[in-house]
């Protein structure tokens, strides 16, 4: 009850400000979302993210360091989840519906080498879609700390 009153009070404060998105953040996002959608625009919005993730997955499967993790039937699902997760982190008005970073990666035995390999493959995909380097780093800064939940060795 106290919570409801509090959130009503909060939303009335928020409504009076020129805010666009009021949706509650996904609890499984893995990091806080950005304050503005500036970087989201630099990624070409949601269409941009979909195209980037398509190439990202191709890179992951072609890279011998990451192939064992991604060369399977889950690609479409993972790509869709990544689009939603990146979109929400970039304040693009999405809500990530997937699992949290810890439980979705447990048992995969991911080490630093595999983590960095994935980052490199992501950078290549972002380069291909002409995402400016500074914008790439802003998103990577949101993703990098997730190594603490994803790595097991």
């Amino acid at each position: 009850m106290y919570k409801l009153v509090f959130s009503l009070a909060l939303s009335s404060v928020l409504l009076s400000a020129p805010m666009t998105v009021l949706a509650e953040a996904s609890p499984n996002l893995g990091n806080t979302a950005m304050e503005t959608d500036e970087v989201f625009q630099a990624f070409g919005g949601k269409t941009g993210l979909v195209n980037i993730m398509d190439d990202f997955m191709i890179n992951l499967v072609n890279d011998p360091r990451t192939k064992p993790y991604f060369d399977n039937e889950k690609q479409t699902y993972i790509k869709a989840m990544l689009v939603e997760q990146m979109c929400e982190l970039l304040n693009g008005g999405c809500r990530y519906p997937g699992r949290d970073m810890k439980s979705s990666h447990t048992g995969l035995n991911i080490n630093r080498a595999a983590f960095n390999a994935l980052v490199e493959d992501f950078q290549l995909a972002m380069d291909k879609h002409q995402v400016p380097f500074r914008a790439q780093n802003k998103l990577l800064a949101k993703l990098a700390p997730m190594y603490r939940m994803i790595e097991e060795k």
Binding site: N31, P64, R65, N111, R112, A113, A114, N116, A117, V119, E120, Q123, D127, F133, R134, N137, K138, L140, A141, K142, A144, P145, Y147, K153
Partner: protein, 326 residues
């Protein structure tokens, strides 16, 4: 030890050359042993540790991650108005935790020697180069410079550099007056990559007695004790493989040539006043196997003997370094 080191240096040079060839021929075949992100291992600084050009950073050299070993060799050339420095060495990083390095430096003072010989009619310097060997060790104690982008906590490492100068007769002579021909520098370095700003900053606190990095020995008539010296670097990443930046390194001012009092009635004829150094650099890593650094470097005064026409003053010029890794 003192006798075996110069021949070790000679062998080291051959090893470095061979390794350069090996690395450049394996550029295309990316090994799976170099999984650190591009440029995040720094480059080889002038004394052989991973860092910027002048200062060691808290990063562990090579592209090895926590279950890999990475290594690289480097060659560095610096040319200021009146002096030249050649340096080469090997840096090995173990499991992103421990770094060992060895470097050989050759400092060309031929220009000064000629002027002094002509001016005094005696070859009091008696050599064209001053040489030293530097053995370094570094341990990462905490933090993760690159990935901990959500915290202010830097990566911190402690290190030491054992330096042995091979010209102890000259550096301890009345011209220079160094107190010792070997010494150990101790340092603590903190490095942080501010990823969303694409900015890397480092600060290092070094305790040292070294004169001009050790090329003029350790301690002198002015000071012969360990002094804390601050070293700062900042690098802005322009792209995945190009960084530009600046560095500043304090150096102690230990030397006062005994010859000034003994021969010249206390006049500062031999001016060994040491000043701080700084550089402006660009580093480029075309692949994980190669990185190239080009810099403007300013070392301040080194040795000026105005009455013989060696009216040198500030020494600044170009610094170029190439590194090949596995």
């Amino acid at each position: 030890m003192a006798h075996s080191l110069p021949s070790l240096g000679f062998k080291l040079k051959h090893a470095v050359l061979l390794a350069c060839l090996a690395a450049s021929s394996s550029v295309i075949a990316d090994t799976s042993l170099s999984n650190k992100l591009l440029l995040t291992g720094g480059v080889s600084q002038v004394e052989g540790a991973a860092g910027g050009g002048l200062t060691p950073w808290a990063v562990i050299g090579g592209y090895g991650t926590n279950d890999e070993i990475g290594a690289n060799v480097h060659y560095t050339y610096a040319k200021t108005g009146d002096y030249k420095l050649d340096s080469y060495g090997v840096t090995v990083g173990f499991y992103d935790r421990v770094e060992l390095s060895i470097a050989e430096q050759k400092f060309d003072i031929g220009n000064l020697r000629n002027k002094v010989t002509a001016g005094l009619g005696a070859d009091v310097i008696g050599r064209d180069t001053l040489d030293q060997t530097i053995i370094g060790a570094k341990v990462r104690v905490l933090g993760e410079a690159v990935l901990d982008a959500d915290s202010w906590l830097p990566q911190v490492a402690v290190g030491l550099q054992y330096k042995r100068n091979h010209d102890d007769r000259f550096i301890k002579s009345a011209v220079i007056g160094a107190k010792s021909s070997d010494g150990v520098d101790l340092y603590v370095a903190a490095t942080k990559l501010f990823l969303s700003q694409s900015l890397l900053v480092n600060s290092t606190l070094r305790f040292t007695k070294a004169n001009q990095f050790g090329l003029l020995g350790f301690g002198g008539d002015r000071h012969d004790n360990y002094q804390p010296q601050l070293e700062l670097s900042a690098a802005y990443l322009l792209s995945k493989n190009i960084a530009i930046g600046a560095e500043y390194r304090m150096k102690p001012n230990n030397l006062r040539s005994p010859a000034n009092a003994a021969l010249f009635g206390g006049q500062k004829v031999v001016d060994l006043d040491e000043e701080d150094a700084f550089d402006l650099f660009v580093a480029y890593a075309p692949t994980k196997h190669v990185s190239l650094t080009l810099a403007y470097v300013n070392l301040g005064n080194i040795a000026t003997v105005a009455p013989v026409g060696a009216n040198y003053g500030t020494q600044d010029g170009v610094y170029a370094s190439a590194q090949f890794g596995f």
